[in-house]
């Protein structure tokens, strides 16, 4: 049943992948040159260029015109926070800030870049991009109500999804998920060994048996929790 592909195919695919990675890095460097930013990265197929907030609109315009990225993919934000009300905290301490992301791409080929800028939490505002891409309108309204970032000069800064009376900014890490506060979710899974698995580290077939977790972290067959067993800490 299992037929291994010929060696050459593997080698060719590796060459292709390396070429694709080079292309992403070269494109990130080119965009960084256009916006005169020395801070760029290209990892996992994602070309990312960081821009100073003071040059935000000017830089996005320059990338649109200079690199031919005329397709507006999305705008959103990340709340970099050391204390989290939901999910898991970061492994390392980070500088508290919001990071605003804009993804632009070319409507004719696979050129694409993520532009990012960082804004302090006590002064969360950024000039609007609606004059550069009309599509930024709704995306900025969403980011504004979800993260509490003010987009200055936005033509229609009202709430988008939420009701006008809604208080708080739901996608901030400090905003609790109320249903989880009230009742811990029973679906937070524990991962069990398959009965037949002799080498627990190998995970040879990659089967994930998801059983309902229990608070003590003891598996269904009574075995003590192992190192990589998922802890029940998510409420």
């Amino acid at each position: 049943m299992t037929t291994n592909p010929p060696e050459e195919t593997d080698a060719t695919e590796e060459v292709f992948e390396a070429a694709a990675a080079d292309h992403v890095a070269a494109f990130a460097e080119r965009v960084a040159g256009i916006v005169e930013s020395g801070d760029w990265s290209a990892a996992f197929g994602n070309a990312k260029v960081r821009i100073d907030r003071s040059r935000w609109v000017e830089a996005v315009t320059a990338v649109r015109d200079g690199a031919g990225l005329d397709f507006f993919s999305f705008l959103s934000a990340i709340d970099w926070s050391n204390e989290v009300a939901v999910g898991e905290p970061l492994a390392e301490t980070v500088e508290e800030r919001y990071e605003v992301l804009v993804r632009l791409s070319n409507g004719r080929n696979n050129d694409a870049v993520t532009l990012s800028t960082e804004i302090p939490k006590d002064d969360a505002r950024l000039p609007t991009l609606v004059g550069v891409f009309e599509g930024a309108n709704w995306h900025e309204r969403e980011a504004a109500e979800m993260f509490g970032i003010r987009f200055e000069g936005h033509p229609n800064p009202g709430k988008l999804y939420l009701t006008d009376e809604f208080e708080g900014f739901p996608l901030r890490k400090s905003y609790p998920l109320v249903s989880r506060e009230v009742k811990p979710w029973p679906g937070m899974v524990d991962v069990e060994d398959m009965p037949s698995t002799e080498n627990p580290e190998a995970g040879s077939g990659g089967v994930e048996e998801q059983l309902p977790g229990n608070a003590e972290g003891v598996s269904a067959d009574g075995a003590p929790p192992t190192e990589d067993r998922v802890e029940e800490d998510d409420s």
């Binding site: 049943m1 299992t2 037929t3 694709a20 990892a43 996992f44 197929g45 994602n46 005329d70 397709f71 507006f72 993919s73 999305f74 959103s76 990340i78 939901v86 999910g87 898991e88 970061l90 492994a91 992301l101 993804r103 409507g107 004719r108 080929n109 694409a112 993520t114 891409f133 009309e134 599509g135 309108n137 709704w138 979800m146 709430k159 988008l160 999804y161 939420l162 009701t163 739901p170 996608l171 905003y175 998920l177 979710w185 679906g187 937070m188 899974v189 060994d193 398959m194 037949s196 698995t197 190998a202 995970g203 040879s204 077939g205 990659g206 089967v207 994930e208 990589d228 998922v230 998510d234």
Partner: protein, 398 residues
């Protein structure tokens, strides 16, 4: 009649007609949130001057479920079940970019057979999605016959999807590193004796052959219909530069003449092995948006036909750790979903749940062009444009 009129009197009448302008007071009407033409709970606040549209403001959020927040408390395999419900008309296609994003960060090589099965099911989801469009769009414009034909065929396609995945709308079929073994297919740890249901390939081939006929039928039924043409030709034209600036993607963008198809540009699934055409329109009107989708069904049937002919054998699942922990990093993976560019910006901190998962859904950006495209048109054009954009409110609101 005109011969009997005194020429001076006729001139007088025409002067009167010019001087008396029809005055209509401005009016604001509310369409939805419960209205059959809004495809769910979408509310439109329309400012009208008589029959002319001055401005239309969509009010969205009635379906907002907060998937981005919910993803921050779920492990990666659990999020797959969640994202099925974003665009429920093509549930399977939603899973692909998320799974590929996780696999990219974990640097997992997915077996060829699993990739092929993913590709076949994605294209079946595209056909099913477009058949819903091809049935509902003429219905909204007053033609009820195509509904029967298109939905009947769609049922066959859903049966194929159900046969493999067990679900008609929410397959939850992708696993990180591969796909789920089919019911009765045995454990992925052992030699898989049966992964696709018996007779699946033959049945799919038959359904795909029939798909070409049904496309011809629909073409004959709808594309030449005088009423349909009057409602759609040259209505709500979206030029390519506006479409790109608004982030309009998928068939809506291609109808405006931009030959942009992520299946050709990105490598999330092995589309490079298959021979198919990117269908584009010329004017970007409602008719082009309809016709592009009709042709895309033909192309998708072609892709499925090729894929089942040379489906590789081999395992369904790559080796993955039992606890999925995604290494620290960021990536954005986008895919050509039936409705356009769907992508996930995944930020991982090395744990078993994402730190941030931004969901870029196609319908959200596609719908945002509505106020621009409707300015100056008349009220019936709202229905014609809304239907032609083919959005789903779950995909708009997430």
């Amino acid at each position: 009649m005109s011969q009997t009129l005194d020429p001076r009197a006729a001139a007088h009448v025409s002067e009167v007609a010019v001087s008396v302008e029809l005055q209509t007071p401005g009016m604001t009407i509310n369409i939805g949130p419960q209205h059959p033409s809004t495809h769910g709970v979408l509310r439109l606040v329309a400012e009208l001057d008589g029959e002319r549209i001055v401005n239309v403001e969509p009010v969205i959020g009635y379906m907002h479920r907060g998937y981005e927040k919910l993803s921050e408390v779920r492990t990666y395999p659990q999020i797959t079940a969640l994202v099925n419900r974003i665009d429920w008309v093509s549930g399977f296609a939603n899973e692909i970019p998320l799974i590929v994003a996780v696999e990219r960060l974990m640097e997992i090589e997915v077996p060829e057979r699993a990739q092929s099965i993913r590709l076949i099911l994605t294209e079946l989801a595209r056909i099913s999605n477009h058949l819903v469009f091809l049935s509902s769009y003429p219905l909204e414009l007053g033609a009820s016959t195509p509904l029967m034909y298109a939905l009947r065929e769609r049922e066959h396609v859903l049966e194929l999807i159900e046969g493999v995945t067990g679900g008609r709308f929410h397959p939850n079929f992708n696993r990180i590193g591969g796909v789920k073994p089919a019911a009765g297919g045995g454990s992925t740890q052992k030699m898989v004796t049966q992964d696709l249901p018996k007779g699946f390939l033959e049945e799919t081939r038959g359904t795909m052959n029939r798909m070409r006929e049904i496309c011809d039928d629909l073409d004959t039924l709808v594309s030449g219909n005088e009423i349909f043409l009057a409602r759609t030709k040259d209505v709500a034209i979206v030029p390519p530069d506006r479409a790109l600036a608004y982030g309009v993607s998928g068939p809506n963008l291609r109808a405006s003449g931009v030959a942009f198809d992520l299946r050709k540009h990105e490598d999330y699934l092995p589309y490079h092995k298959h021979d198919f055409e990117v269908v584009t329109g010329e004017r970007g009107d409602c008719f082009d948006r309809y016709h592009v989708r009709l042709e895309e069904v033909r192309q998708a049937a072609r892709i499925v036909g090729q894929a089942i002919d040379d489906i590789p054998s081999g395992p369904l699942q790559a080796k993955v750790p039992r606890v999925i922990k995604v290494p620290k990093g960021e990536t954005y993976v986008r895919a050509e979903n039936p409705k356009g560019e769907m992508g996930y910006y995944l930020v991982s901190d090395g744990g078993r749940i994402p730190y941030r998962l931004k969901i870029r859904s196609a319908s959200f950006s596609n719908l945002s062009i509505l106020p621009w495209a409707l300015k100056g048109l008349i009220v019936p054009d709202i229905i014609a444009l809304l239907g032609s954009l083919d959005f789903v409110l779950g995909d708009v609101d997430r």
